[in-house]
Symmetry: C2
Subunit: 181 residues, 2 copies
Amino acid sequence: MSKEQVIPKLIPVFRHYGYEGATVSRLSDATGLKKASLYHHFQGGKEQMAAAVLEYVANWLDENVFTPLQSDKPPSERIRAMSQGLDKFYDSGQDPCLLSVMSVGEADNLFHQQLEQSLNHWLALLTQVIEETGVEPELARQRAEDALMMIQGALVLVRVNNDTQPFKRAIAKLPQILLDD
Amino acid sequence: MSKEQVIPKLIPVFRHYGYEGATVSRLSDATGLKKASLYHHFQGGKEQMAAAVLEYVANWLDENVFTPLQSDKPPSERIRAMSQGLDKFYDSGQDPCLLSVMSVGEADNLFHQQLEQSLNHWLALLTQVIEETGVEPELARQRAEDALMMIQGALVLVRVNNDTQPFKRAIAKLPQILLDD
DNA sequence: GTCTATATAGGGATAGAC
DNA sequence: GTCTATCCCTATATAGAC
């Protein structure tokens, strides 16, 4: 089994349990590989596994969320494409946000830069799209932040309340937040 | 030292590190009590410490956020009082949300009910205040959810970005979200 | 590339002196 | 009520056979 095949199986473990909760035993179970085999692929141990997962996810987001946001279609269409990517990424709100669980405790010390970079990349792209509709830079930035907060907040609510409705509503509200306000 | 004096010192550890990251060693350092002394106060061990912390926090919220929301003052005034309580609770966005970090991994299995109850209590009270302004129940509920999402999402953004601005803006926007829309 | 077996550290928890 | 000392278990990580 290649590294590329292993990483996707690691993702849900970190997502669901967080960095400290994602024990090598659980990672072993999730991949079907024994511990020693995991260490063969990731000599840097658990830390490297998490780093690889974050990189993989950043690339996935790039392809499915950020790139569609930069197409030459009209803003509303690009927002729609982004929303579709997000809905897939979070499985309609059922999957927690990796970036958010990795910003807790020890993991934050290890990966803060990566998380910050991904988030700010997203914010910057989103701001740019809104600016193109003739909105002032500062207001555009605020709307981008509002959209992100809504999504992240919805994910928290969904987790605690076991009801994906808030996430679906947040996704549906994105065009309004970003373009109509 | 009494239990009541110990609990407040435990809170920041769970808040910052999450349940699995909050090791008994760290809890010992934070309180200045050795492990055995902690176990004297909390015979149920770490799980009981976390439960006590959650209960303490729920009571704090009751007093400083929920009760002000139920006063006989006008809705706008009650929202303002709630905002003030929230700002204090999250130290202007610098402290993570205990409810959100405790909804990760193993902790979620242990404390899901408590978390859900606190959150729904808050949502219900908030919904009621909005209904009093003549808003339809369903819309009122949605606005309450929106407000909560905004706060929770802002806290995520603040953590990742090391900038409390989004939280302050979220707090400032509460009256608009809840009353003006 | 995957495994069994094992080493080492730290986590949660307890016994018993003071 | 707090401590030192200790127990057991799990966590991360490695050695070396296949």
